[in-house]
């Protein structure tokens, strides 16, 4: 019998989900995280979950793991001391970056730029040059390079990056520099930009490759250690790491390209949410993962998470595919304050974090946080203990919120409601970025709140966006581990391929795409995925010639063969029109070609609840005074474990479970489905009819914007 295990290591808890690959039966466990050496917690968890399942850990043959090691390394600035080799004349490529100063007009006055991840003192130049077309303009001066590399020896670098100009067009110099570097600095890992991200734009390529080097030694150590420890209890087990794009990487590939893991943690949550939502019959979904300091949101359409071509962690943005997750500095620990001059109510982005945490934690925090407001409002009932054992101090919460109330001249509960409303609004801002701004109408999507505090805000967020139902999955905390366990092996290859349509052909494009697919398949075949089980998808980035944007368009090879490049341009025009309300009559240009390959997923049988009538009376445990929508109400408190399928919970209500609390607002009703999800709808809700037509009506067509384009095309060259 074979088993696979999903493992999510969070700041407080390590969640595990064990799956019997044949029957689909699952078992879960939750143990405290062990930050000093995370593998300790993981092993404790494995023993616990295996005990529950009554199996020997040796029966586990795949472990899928979402990790925040790479992210934390960047956020805490504790990565490797990196060396960098650039083309002569470009030593300061990271120092200059894109010359961008954040913060609007006058923003420079308060802007202090952080130091580059590869210090200038450890950056050397290679005398060489390749043109944008890939011709060698100046051959590499190997002798001079060896000398410069030797100077790096004394700087104690732990990793080296090579990023040369135009290497996306010709990687021969980068490869040669690596050979020489391995001779001169034996034992130092070398990342080259043409392998990590073979795309145009020198700063982005360099910073991405340097980020890779920066987190690499640490991720490598972590993965090796975890693999060794796993080997002790489950010999021969295969370890996979969840990538930012929601696919799985082998442990060795993860250690080599760790820049692809920066969103590994949150991607697990989205994947888990996706899995639950598809099961429940809602393939269009907005996900809201509320943590202590921040909230991650994403959009899932037709059962697939939207991907983005860049990943941002702190003030570092790299070119690596990731699930399009937007993060807003609004979470349970976000601090509310009233600035002296404006007397406005602001929530976040400052956070009380886990330490000291909200005032109610009684660990020395005195600033009012969102969690404190939720306590004042009665959304976290007196009997609720966070994570099962932490008692909340209501008086401290009250005293903290009073500070804000006094500043605003409001009652304490009105101030608390203000905090709750503002933080919801901040989350809505992030949700708009992934929906409305991408041309998707949130009213066509369901919404799922998870993470410990997500279900407190879920109902309110759905109401603000018109996204129904508001779904609260069972065990909102183990969603990430579920995502880890259900993920398929995935890999992709991309290449910058800037060509006007008139200068290339469908045949040429197809040839490159197939090469990329073959290349990408090799990796996952090594993972033991059979050739016949590999699913390949093709994507190209396209724009109108002269534009800076690029839109990703999925390609069906058969369609490309049949209709030629028109198969691409038609789709692009449609997408352009959907996003920006107009299309242009200009020539198209290819920018990047990409092939993604994926192994088969896994079937999981979910626990099905016993069906029952609509009356949830059997699950009632208490009554709680609450303040909702500006009114005092008495909310019925339910124990989630006792709810049955078919139960209807009328708001105002609060549903408790071990690590989470769900708020159901007045005039809303939550229905429990067979999988234990609570689906919240406003009373009297009627599904929107023909959502497509409605979506269209919100966008006015740009009248005749296309026409003058034709007239304007000819005189462009200005020939006399």
């Amino acid at each position: 019998m074979s088993y696979r295990l999903g493992v999510d290591v969070g700041g407080t808890f390590t969640d595990l989900l064990l799956v019997n690959e044949k029957s689909g039966q699952t078992w879960s466990a939750k143990v405290p995280s062990t930050p000093a050496d995370q593998s300790v917690g993981v092993l404790t968890g494995i023993r616990k979950v295996c005990e529950r399942a009554g199996i020997d850990p040796k029966q586990i043959d795949h472990v899928m793991h979402g990790t925040t090691v790479a992210t934390n390394t960047v956020l805490t600035g504790t990565g490797a001391r990196c060396g960098l080799v650039t083309t002569k004349g470009y030593r300061q490529v990271l120092q200059i970056a894109r010359s961008y100063v954040p913060g609007g007009l006058g923003g420079w006055i308060i802007y202090n730029k952080s130091l580059p991840m590869a210090p200038l003192a450890c950056t050397i130049e290679a005398d060489e040059r390749v043109s944008a077309k890939g011709e060698v303009v100046r051959v590499l001066d190997e002798k001079a390079l060896r000398q410069s590399l030797r100077t790096l020896k004394s700087k104690n670098i732990e990793a080296l990056t090579v990023s040369l100009i135009n290497s996306f067009a010709n990687d021969s110099h980068e490869k040669r520099v690596r050979e020489i570097a391995l001779e001169e600095l034996p034992g130092t890992p070398v990342s080259i930009s043409s392998e990590v991200v073979p795309e145009m734009q020198e700063y982005e390529r360099t910073v991405t490759t340097v980020a890779n080097s920066y987190v690499r030694p640490r991720v490598d150590r972590y993965v090796k250690n975890l693999r060794a420890k796993l080997g002790e209890v489950a010999e021969g087990v295969k370890l996979h790491i969840l990538r930012s794009d929601g696919g799985l990487a082998s442990a060795s590939s993860a250690a080599e390209y760790p820049v692809n893991l920066l969103m590994s943690g949150p991607a697990g949550g989205v994947t888990g949410a996706l899995w639950v939502a598809v099961q429940a019959g809602f393939p269009n979904l907005l996900t809201v993962d509320v943590g202590g300091t921040s909230t991650d949101v994403a959009l899932i359409r037709n059962g697939e998470a939207r991907l983005r071509r860049e990943t941002t962690v702190g003030d570092v943005t790299v070119r690596a595919s990731s699930v399009d997750i937007r993060t807003v500095g609004a979470g349970g620990g976000s601090i509310a304050h009233v600035p002296e001059l404006t007397k406005a109510l602001r929530v976040g982005p400052q956070s009380a974090g886990a330490d000291p945490g909200p005032a109610a934690y009684n660990r020395g925090g005195t600033e009012p946080t969102v969690a404190d407001a939720n306590i004042v409002l009665g959304y976290l009932p007196a009997m609720q203990k966070l994570g099962g054992d932490m008692v909340l101090n209501r008086e401290l919460a009250h005293a903290a919120v009073k500070k804000v109330a006094d500043g605003l001249g409001l009652s304490v509960k009105d101030a608390a409601l203000g905090i709750y409303n503002i933080v919801n609004e901040n989350m809505v801002g992030a949700l708009r970025l992934v929906s409305v701004e991408q041309g998707y109408d949130p009213r066509d999507y369901a919404l799922m709140g998870f993470g410990g505090a997500g279900p407190i805000h879920s109902n309110a967020l759905s109401r603000l966006l018109g996204s129904w139902p508001s779904i609260v999955p069972p065990g909102p905390g183990v969603l990430c581990a579920l995502g880890d366990a259900t993920t398929a092996v995935r890999d992709e290859r991309a290449r910058t391929y800037v060509r006007q349509f008139s200068l290339t052909s469908a045949k040429e494009v197809e040839k490159v795409l197939k090469e990329l697919a073959t290349d990408a398949s090799k990796g996952i075949e090594n993972e033991g995925v059979a050739k016949k089980d590999i699913r390949t998808t093709y994507q190209v980035d396209v724009r109108y010639r002269g534009q800076g944007l690029r839109l990703a368009v999925n390609i069906d090879l058969a369609d490309l063969q049949k209709r030629g490049l028109k198969a691409i341009s038609d789709q692009f025009d449609a997408e352009h029109e959907r996003l920006f309300t107009f299309a242009l009559d200009l020539e198209h240009e290819l920018v990047t070609l990409r092939a993604a390959v994926q192994g088969p997923g896994i079937k999981i049988k979910r626990t099905v609840l016993k069906k029952s009538g609509p009356d949830p009376k059997a699950a009632v445990v208490a009554k709680q005074k609450s303040y909702m929508d500006g009114k005092d109400v008495t909310a019925i408190v339910y124990d989630r474990a006792k709810l049955k399928a078919g139960n209807k919970i009328k708001g105002p209500a609060i549903v408790m479970e071990m690590d989470s609390t769900t708020v159901i607002l007045p005039k809303h009703t939550g229905t429990v489905d067979v999988y234990g999800n609570i689906l919240i709808y406003p009373d009297g809700y009627k599904a929107r009819k023909a959502p497509k037509a409605a979506a269209k009506a919100t966008r006015k067509p740009a009248p005749t914007a296309r026409k003058p384009a034709k007239a304007a095309r000819k005189p462009a060259k200005g020939k006399k």
Binding site: Q95, R98, Y111, E204, L341, T342, K343, E425, G429, E437
Partner: protein, 643 residues
């Protein structure tokens, strides 16, 4: 005649009391809408200046046209005064004429578009946006002729017109406009992009009004303005003294060999009101460096500067406009009379920020920044390539951010909001050139406790014959240091011909012919330093030396002696610092790097390789016209008093 607003629904908005939280929510919803305008624009615009460098400015205003969210303050009043027609539902307006909108936009490259946002037959808000077009015709590619003497030479000037009438595009007019531009498809795409951004803002405002009700939306915007006014009132009271402060700075030359042009401003407070008076500013130039400065826009600059320095939490909008008064003499460099050329106004526009730093800083030297990268130098390169295709590059470059009370100035960065450089690999892929050098220049940032950022060096290797233009400044005067900091190093342009000869190029010049394999080394200037350089921790100086941002020789400006192994020679440093402290005079609030213009001009040739420019003089017609205007204004004032 101002514009006539046509509204089907005559019902007035009811001012209601809106609770704080609702105001905050509407505020953040409007802020989101404004950022969404940017996103929509960036993604579909084609001019690299807009798309890559973000030379564009969105705004949402209330029914009266006051900016509620945005950056440069409202330009709706200026437009309404200059437009002689009706404003109706579905209309979108376009203009590129600075003179018709009292400088709301300041050269013809900026296309300004405005849209009244209607709901149920009445205007609930305005959206507006302007962006810099790569080319709008005229005598030189890029439409920024240094030697232009009237606005007619700059390029096509569009008066305020209704480009969409009740939602229908005026195609003929657009065709005429595009026909006069060298890269019409870029203009068209940018035009469409701005239109899409305006419509996005419109949709968002309507949604907010639907959610909260028109009266609440109206009243909340009012409250946002009021909130800002209250905050600014306190800031002005705290930071602007009643005693007059004066400050002056310079534009080095006008491209026609006259200069430096002085910009002078006085600032003082009367009650709650802060007054800025530009009397003493030099007359308008015969060339195109004139900057038609809109008074309201200047208020916004001043307000933002105060907010950023003293309390960055405040959201800025037009609410505080009544608290400021700006006086600019007609016929001066900052209030030129039509038809003076305006295209190269960027230098004076940038310099305004140094003036503000100098003015506001005097009262609070601890909060004052050095002189910075107060310009956006342009580089242009155009011609026909091997295949007979026209290429035309317009690029904004960057330099050293000044040292500031809060830390060092970044090297080779932008003072302008959200501007970014264009990736060199992108340039090399689309234009016949290679960028052989792209680095900041050691020691060009002014020494200070907080170092000024280094200037940027770009080595352009041309691969096709063509013509280049350079628009830069600070080749003669220095970016001054503040509060004990030293000035930064000047700019410089050197052309190395493929045949081995070299020539220095002036800082403002068009039509320089280049051949394949010529190399232009374009150096911008460094930012001024802040605070006493002798107080900068020696290890920090050593760090910069190891990084190559300061040389071993340059470290001595900080009184720091670096040993051969790169570490600090503690003993020698102590001696040198003591010695330097003794020799120098009292701490200077400003260090301009010269004593007087005469003294500066005397060493001009030796230091820069160029003869000093001649003293600016008034154009005759402008002098006469300005005098007439002054007389008229005085008469009106008298009349008003009598009444």
């Amino acid at each position: 005649m101002p514009a006539t607003i046509v509204q089907r629904n005559k019902k007035a908005f009811k001012k209601t009391k809106v609770d704080t939280v609702t105001i905050d929510i509407i505020e953040s919803a409007l802020r989101n809408a404004r950022y969404e305008m940017d996103t929509v624009l960036f993604r579909t615009a084609m001019s690299p200046g807009i798309r890559e460098q973000h030379d564009e400015f969105p705004m949402i205003a209330n029914t009266e046209g006051k900016m509620v969210v945005g950056q440069f303050g409202s330009f709706i009043w200026g437009f309404m005064d200059g437009y002689d027609g009706t404003v109706e539902e579905g209309d979108i307006f376009l203009t590129s004429d600075p003179y018709s909108v009292n400088g709301a936009i300041s050269h013809a490259n900026d296309w300004l578009m405005l849209m009244p946002i209607y709901r149920d037959g009445r205007i609930i808000a305005w959206s507006a946006m302007f962006g810099h077009m790569t080319d709008v015709g005229g005598k030189v590619p890029g439409s920024l002729p240094t030697d232009g003497t009237t606005i007619y030479e700059d390029g096509l000037v569009i008066p305020p017109i209704k480009i969409f009438k009740a939602g229908v595009l005026n195609e003929d007019v657009l065709r005429v406009v595009l026909h006069n531009c060298r890269l019409p498809q870029w203009n068209l795409s940018d035009f469409n992009a701005i239109t899409a951004a305006l419509r996005t803002a419109s949709a968002r405002c309507i949604e907010i009004a639907e959610r909260f009700g028109d009266d609440v939306f109206y009243s909340a915007m009012d409250a946002m303005l009021e909130r800002n006014k209250r905050a600014m009132k306190a800031l002005i009271r705290q930071n602007v003294p009643e005693k007059k402060q004066h400050f002056e700075d310079y534009i080095c030359d006008d491209g026609l060999n006259l200069g430096p042009y002085r910009i002078r401003c006085s600032m003082w407070r009367e009650g709650d009101k802060c007054i800025f008076d530009f009397s003493g500013t030099d007359p308008q130039s015969m060339s195109s460096i004139n900057f038609l400065l809109n008074e309201e826009m200047f208020k916004m600059f001043a307000g933002i500067y105060m907010i950023m320095v003293f309390d960055p939490q405040i959201l800025f909008n037009d609410g505080f406009y009544d608290l400021m008064e700006v006086r600019i003499p007609a016929g001066s460099l900052l209030k030129p009379l039509k038809p003076a050329a305006l295209s190269c106004r960027t230098h004076a526009l940038g310099r305004i920020f140094d003036i503000l730093a100098g003015l506001l800083g005097q009262g609070n030297p601890d909060f004052m920044c050095g002189a910075g990268f107060s310009d956006s130098p342009h580089f242009m390169y155009s011609g026909y390539d091997k295949n007979g295709e026209w290429y035309q590059l317009y690029q904004i470059t960057f330099g050293g951010i000044p040292g500031k009370p809060f830390g060092d100035g970044p090297d080779g960065h932008s003072l302008w909001p959200s501007f970014t450089n264009v990736p060199n690999e992108f340039l090399e892929s689309y234009f016949p050139l290679r960028i052989d050098i792209y680095e900041t220049i050691a020691d060009t940032g002014g020494a200070g406790k907080n170092r000024g950022g280094n200037g940027l060096r770009i080595g352009y290797r041309f691969l096709e014959p063509g013509e280049i233009s350079i628009h830069d400044d600070r080749w003669l005067t220095y970016p001054w240091g503040a509060n004990g900091g030293e000035p930064g190093v000047r700019s410089r342009k050197l052309l190395q011909r493929a045949d081995g000869t070299e020539e220095l190029l002036p800082s403002k010049i068009d039509h320089v012919k280049v051949e394949a394999n010529d190399l232009l080394i374009a150096d911008t200037w460094g930012g001024g330093g802040w605070g006493d350089p002798l107080e900068r921790p020696a290890e920090q100086v050593a760090f910069d030396v190891e990084a190559g941002l300061v040389t071993v020789g340059g470290a001595r400006r900080y009184g720091v002696v670096i040993k051969a192994d790169g570490t600090v020679d503690e003993a020698a440093t102590k001696t040198l610092r003591t010695d330097m402290a003794k020799k120098r005079g009292p701490k200077k609030i400003f260090d301009r790097g010269f004593d007087s213009i005469e003294e500066l001009k005397a060493r001009c040739k030796a230091e820069t390789g160029f003869d000093p420019p001649a003293t600016p003089r008034f154009t005759k017609w402008a002098a006469v016209a300005a005098a007439a205007l002054e007389k008229k204004a005085a008469k009106e004032k008298k009349g008003a008093k009598a009444a």
